[in-house]
Symmetry: C2
Subunit: 330 residues, 2 copies
């Protein structure tokens, strides 16, 4: 925990802002900025707590910073938006060193640079036990884009922008062996999915630019849970076809049971799940393809009281809407 | 901790929004809203943690909700702005009941109603130990208003919008006796200042509307510390005259030592401290008066390397910039 708050804030304050609309950044009572016409503003918040969402055993300080911001950027992606600014609230126990704290901010600023985002404010307080990072991201989206969850209609296709489950598989490896152990390349890939997830901003932007009616959600709580959210918000059934759900190459060595558990219930892949009408589907695929993004057709929207079905050849079961709990077996 | 997140979010979601620019409120990946031309946007975040900023002994759940939002609104007030929206990140230990949790949100929504603010998003997670509430407030201010900390110039007057120290005195009573004890009316008034502080939004608005060059700060960390922030941001000396600093009636019974300790170093009064040129001072006083707000002339800005002086007749001492620590003697 830094002793001198003034000095600490000065260290955190960037020399310059990437975004041209910043009037006042860090260092006053509130950040001040302008907006552009033609856009709506987006605001979302996401919190990560030590021993709930991560452990020192599973994530380095830079991983923590990266992922805390990535989770928020992913929410902006799920609205088809452009992330612009972020403010950070951090609660720090005395057991965390200044170097670790700097690592967290370095992780944040690295991913922020990727998206040309500016940190424009924050709050640093002490915490009696766990480290806590809460980030609020401000973004923007064209006023004529609408990628809200309630947009799904019976007859729509269900799609994914990437296979799911890798982050949960990576977490299991980290919990078993600790992040400083030796891992082979396949394991390293899974671990990277957990520690440094890449939000699907370009996929969200491609979807927004089709101007089609698309329901979109990011996979933070697992495929089943996010599908349920779309179903509930749109008052429809989502039927997923098991043989169409993509299985990441890195997962194929694991048991059928583990693999599907991760794919359906593992969280924090931060890929996008959506629905689109069959007539707009080719246009959406094309828009994604231009950004080198693959899209996976995985099911259909049906009429009926909200739930999620998984159909495997002739057999259909109802998926539970259970959320993702990091340190409890899924 | 609520068992069903879906149900919990539904309970939190307001039936309607007060602000007309809300496109999407709670319930999607991010809130969506429009902006008005002629305004800059304001963003600030503030966090309260159990056993660091409050204890169950000192604050009811409603007090916690009220104060967490009030602290943020106060930051908007210190920019001369209008608070508009808020998003809430809350981390809840299993020991807190659903009823207590509802109390926190009730405290927030009551003060939000006063300012016609809408809650448009949030995140609820579990916490292994302490309850943590982090709120981000979004506000707006006219583009031609500028009440930033670096605005102080040598020759300016220093002013306060209310006496300080009552919140810290109230906290001391609460720590001694607990919030459920019997208190007399004077003590009750002090406790209310600690539990349900009223941010000085109208004072900030009146200051903004003068269009004068004003440096403004809210008293969250104590008069000495906030004066130091203005001094440092403006690269000037703030000289405060002890016999001009207002002493609240409720504090006059206490020892000289306690009283001045609270006045100078007690935090969370959320009144405003500012500087203004002598020529704009009458206009500022008049604008405040029209809102029934008293202004207290308490000192002058001098040229020199940044610090804060307290002058008592012929004797002058330099005030330390020490911040406010709730549960350590000030």
């Amino acid at each position: 925990m830094p002793n001198d708050e003034f000095q600490w804030i000065q260290q955190l304050t960037p020399d310059r802002h990437v975004q041209k609309h910043v009037i006042e950044g860090i260092g006053d009572d509130a950040a001040v900025f302008g907006t552009e016409s033609g856009y709506y503003q987006l605001l979302c918040v996401d919190t990560m707590i030590e021993n709930v969402h991560f452990k020192k055993k599973t994530m380095s300080p830079e991983d923590i910073g990266h992922k805390a911001l990535a989770a928020n950027i992913s929410d902006i992606a799920a609205m088809g938006g452009i992330p612009v600014f972020y403010v950070v609230s951090i609660a720090v126990p005395s057991t965390w060193t200044d170097e670790e704290l700097h690592g967290i901010y370095k992780g944040m600023s690295n991913i922020a640079d990727t998206y040309q985002m500016d940190m424009i404010g924050g709050d640093t307080v002490s915490s009696p036990h766990e480290l806590m990072v809460s980030i609020t991201v401000y973004g923007k989206v064209e006023q004529d884009a609408s990628l809200v969850r309630r947009n799904a209609r019976p007859g729509d296709y269900v799609f994914l922008t990437s296979p799911t489950g890798r982050s949960a598989a990576g977490l299991e490896l980290l919990l078993k062996k600790g992040r400083l152990s030796d891992f082979n390349d396949r394991e390293k890939a899974l671990i990277a999915c957990h520690q440094r997830p890449i939000p699907h901003v370009q996929a969200g932007r491609a979807a927004a630019q089709t101007k089609a009616r698309i329901a979109l959600n990011d996979i933070s709580d697992g495929l089943a849970s996010e599908a349920f959210e779309l179903a509930e918000a749109s008052n429809v059934i989502l039927e997923l076809y098991k043989d169409q759900i993509p299985i990441a190459a890195e997962l194929r060595l694991y048991s059928e049971k583990d693999c599907w558990n991760w794919i359906l219930y593992g969280g924090e892949d931060f890929v996008l799940l959506g629905t689109v009408s069959p007539s707009d589907w080719p246009r959406l695929q094309e828009a994604m393809k231009q950004q080198s993004i693959e899209t996976y057709w995985i099911g259909e929207v049906k009429e009926g009281s909200p739930h999620v079905m998984l159909t495997d050849q002739s057999h259909t079961k109802i998926l539970q809407k259970s959320g993702y709990n990091h340190f409890r077996p899924t």
